[in-house]
Amino acid sequence: MIPVEFYLVVSTLLFFIGVFGFIARKNLVGVLMSIELILNAVNINFVAFNRYLFPGQLEGYIYSLFVIVVAAAETAVAIAIIMNIYRRKGNETVNSIKELKN
């Protein structure tokens, strides 16, 4: 069996790639994708720990399903917002949204 550390390393890498993307990307779609990466890193952790620590139980799997559902809903909302922004501004970079500033 593959030791749990492998899964954890993958999920950590995925998490930090997501964080990097979130911080560094100017494109809103890119930021959204980075958030998906972070959530997926969490999902990997859920599934891996469930498999190793409590093999007979299903909470971890169910939680990861929850996360996928919530992420899908969130993505749907976010995409709608981004579409609107794109329509109004003509681009979809993070810096273009500053109406609430000042």
């Binding site: 964080v19 979130f22 911080i23 560094a24 930021v31 993070v94 500053k98 609430l100 500033k101």
Partner: protein, 666 residues
């Protein structure tokens, strides 16, 4: 009537009238307010007369704080009575300030003076303020402030302790300020009221220092305790013995400093040199209020103060009494000389008031406890206070009548008025004779006693100065008298719509009352047996040598005035032309005002105020500006952090989490 039950009303009634008239001034016409105020003060005056009469001639008793019954008279000696004394301000357990009602011969006498003059002024003002067929709009205000003044002055003379006296002292100052500035639309009146307030307030600063030093050591404010047993408490507190002057401060005995500071407060109110500058300007107020405040009552508060603390001065600080006597003599002569050159009739009277108050101060200054001869000055001073209040109030009220007719204060607009105003002429003449010291008018007795007291206590130089001042006094008073009533008739009178005339009864009655009091003063009982330093009986000596000299000097003064001013002639002008510089110097009040202004501008404004302003601008404002600068720059430099850029926040957040985790792990 029980004295204890009516005594509070003497103070409460004028205070209530002040509040009532002040609050209802928009509801009533001036006429109604005047009537209410006069009737109310009439009641107060009756109470005052009753209390004073009971004290001097009747018999009653009060229970003092130790539970003993004190009668108004034991044998021939009047007792000091505290009619009531209640807690007023409790600062700490030991420092309690009382407010009360203190009767002794001088406060009983002051009750009579204040009641008489104030009542007469209330009546007189009713006529005086009625101008050109309509009442002055501010008449309610005038009567309200008059009530306030009466309240304050009564509270001052009846004070049981020096702190109560100080509070009422300031209250009289305020009401004087309000009355001088009554015509607030006149710039001269506004500056005069400010000047009066600031000068007296400056002097009161010394008064307060004196009170604090004295009562800190003596551990009491009460006059009763300070004066008791030949001021033993003060002597012990300051460790004064026959050999030493006790506790010293900066090389001076502390008691001298304290009592001199208290005297300076009195000098401010009583317009002694060099604090006299406010009084001539105070004549900008309505004439009746000048008669009340700046002739008869408030300005003698300083004399009253020294008389009230006389045992302390006499036993503990006789050197201060000496200083008082020299300051007084200088002021008397100085003011008399200035009065000679003034042309505004009220200014002449103002300087004559300064001079006469200085007489009272001199009389107190030459007086000491000891025997009847040395105590004579005290009685003479109190007597002069009484007689001066009466005849000077009368002179001022006469001036009011004249100003009312002529509508000018300047002598040159007057002349030949005797034909038109017979009653005023007679009353003014009586007043002038009294102040000149011609028998049998009241001033003769009091001034004669003052001169006798100076002479017999060995103050020969002072005696000569005071006699010379008496001559000057009679000269300038009769110069004024002849200039107003004789000289040359002003042609304008014949063509005037309202010819000058004696005024209606409200204005004539007070003149007649004062004239009677002045002429028949010698019939009065009281001053021989009562108002003495020891509160016992005293035979007033008559030194015919001194009386003769003073009458001769007074007659000389009158004679010179008669020659120069009775009929219009060129002599006064010729004399003045010989020394124009001197004349204008004296006319400008010997430039004392300019010296004060100079000191104020160059020293107070130039040095003290400028340095304070520099400190304010650079240190206090600088510190504030520095704080603001720091805040501003800090916020400029840190506001970058709040960029609104979520990605930046997340970056900081992540770094923070990593740091915390790193720290937590290791």
């Amino acid at each position: 009537m029980e004295i204890t039950s009516i005594a509070p009303w003497v103070l409460l009634l004028p205070l209530c009238m002040f509040v009532f008239l002040g609050l209802t001034s928009h509801k009533f016409s001036g006429q109604t307010s005047a009537k209410i105020g006069t009737v109310a003060f009439g009641i107060v005056a009756i109470l005052c007369y009753y209390i004073a009469g009971q004290y001097f001639f009747g018999s009653f008793s009060v229970v003092n704080e130790n539970g003993y019954e004190v009668f108004n008279k034991t044998g021939e000696v009047y007792n000091q009575m505290t009619i009531f004394n209640m807690e007023w301000m409790k600062m700490t357990e030991n420092l309690i300030i009382h407010i009360g009602f203190y009767l002794d011969p001088i406060s009983a006498m002051m009750l009579v003076v204040i009641a008489t003059v104030s009542l007469m002024v209330h009546i007189y003002s009713y006529g005086y303020m009625f101008e050109h067929g309509h009442f002055d709009e501010g008449m309610s205000r005038y009567y309200a402030v008059l009530s306030l003044f009466s309240f304050a002055m009564l509270g001052l003379v009846l004070a049981t302790n020096i702190f109560q006296m100080y509070i009422f002292w300031e209250l009289v100052g305020v009401s004087s300020f309000l009355l001088i500035g009554y015509y607030f639309f006149k710039p001269a009146a506004v500056s005069a009221c400010k000047k009066a307030f600031i000068v007296t307030r400056f002097a009161d600063m010394f008064f307060l220092i004196g009170i604090l030093v004295l009562s800190y050591h003596a551990q009491t404010f009460d006059f009763d305790k300070l004066n008791a047993n030949n001021a033993k408490l003060v002597m012990d507190a300051f460790q004064i013995t026959a050999e030493s002057k006790g506790i010293a401060f900066l090389g001076f005995p502390l008691i001298t400093i304290a009592t001199f500071c208290i005297f300076l407060g009195g000098a401010g109110k009583s317009a002694m040199f060099p604090f006299h500058i406010w009084l001539p300007d105070a004549m900008e107020g309505p004439t009746p209020s000048s008669a009340l405040i700046h002739a008869a009552t408030m300005v003698v508060a300083g004399v009253f103060l020294v008389a009230r603390l006389f045992p302390v001065y006499s036993f503990a600080a006789p050197e201060v009494l000496n200083a008082i006597c020299y300051i007084g003599a200088f002021t008397a002569l100085f003011a008399a000389i200035i009065a000679v050159a003034q042309t505004d009739i009220k200014r002449v009277l103002a300087f004559s008031t300064i001079s006469q108050i200085a007489y009272m101060m001199v009389a107190l200054g030459v007086s000491r406890f000891g025997n009847h001869e040395t105590e004579l000055g005290f009685t003479a001073s109190m007597m002069h206070l009484f007689t001066h209040a009466m005849f000077k109030a009368m002179l001022f009220l006469c001036c009011g009548c004249i100003i009312h007719c002529v509508e000018s204060n300047e002598m040159k607009h007057m002349g030949g008025l005797w034909k038109y105003m017979k009653k005023t002429w007679i009353c003014f003449g009586i007043g002038c004779l009294a102040i000149a010291g011609i028998p049998p008018f009241s001033g003769f007795f009091s001034k004669g006693e003052i001169l006798t007291a100076c002479f017999e206590n060995g103050y020969k130089a002072i005696y000569i100065v005071m006699t010379a001042t008496a001559g000057l006094t009679s000269f300038y008073m009769f110069r004024l008298f002849f200039h107003i009533f004789h000289w040359q008739e002003n042609e304008e009178y014949a063509t005037m719509k309202h010819k000058p005339h004696d005024q209606e009864w409200q204005m004539t009655l007070p003149l007649i009352v004062f004239a009677v009091l002045t002429v028949f003063f010698f019939l009065f009982p009281g001053f021989n047996n009562g108002i003495t330093a020891t509160r016992g009986e005293m035979e007033m000596p008559t030194n015919w040598f001194i009386e003769g000299i003073s009458i001769a000097v007074a007659l000389t003064g009158i004679g010179i005035a008669y020659v120069l001013y009775f009929k219009k002639n060129d002599m006064p002008k010729q004399i003045m032309d010989k020394c124009p510089e001197l004349c204008s110097f004296v006319y400008d009040r010997m430039k004392i005002d300019e010296i004060w202004y100079g000191i104020t501008r160059s020293f107070i404004f130039g040095v003290i105020c400028k340095s304070i302003a520099w400190f304010d601008h650079n240190c206090i404002d600088g510190f504030m500006n520095f704080c603001a600068w720091i805040t501003k720059h800090t916020s400029y430099n840190t506001k970058e952090a709040q960029s609104g850029n979520v990605q930046q926040y997340v970056w900081v957040f992540i770094m923070g989490v990593i740091t915390i985790v790193f720290l937590a792990v290791y």
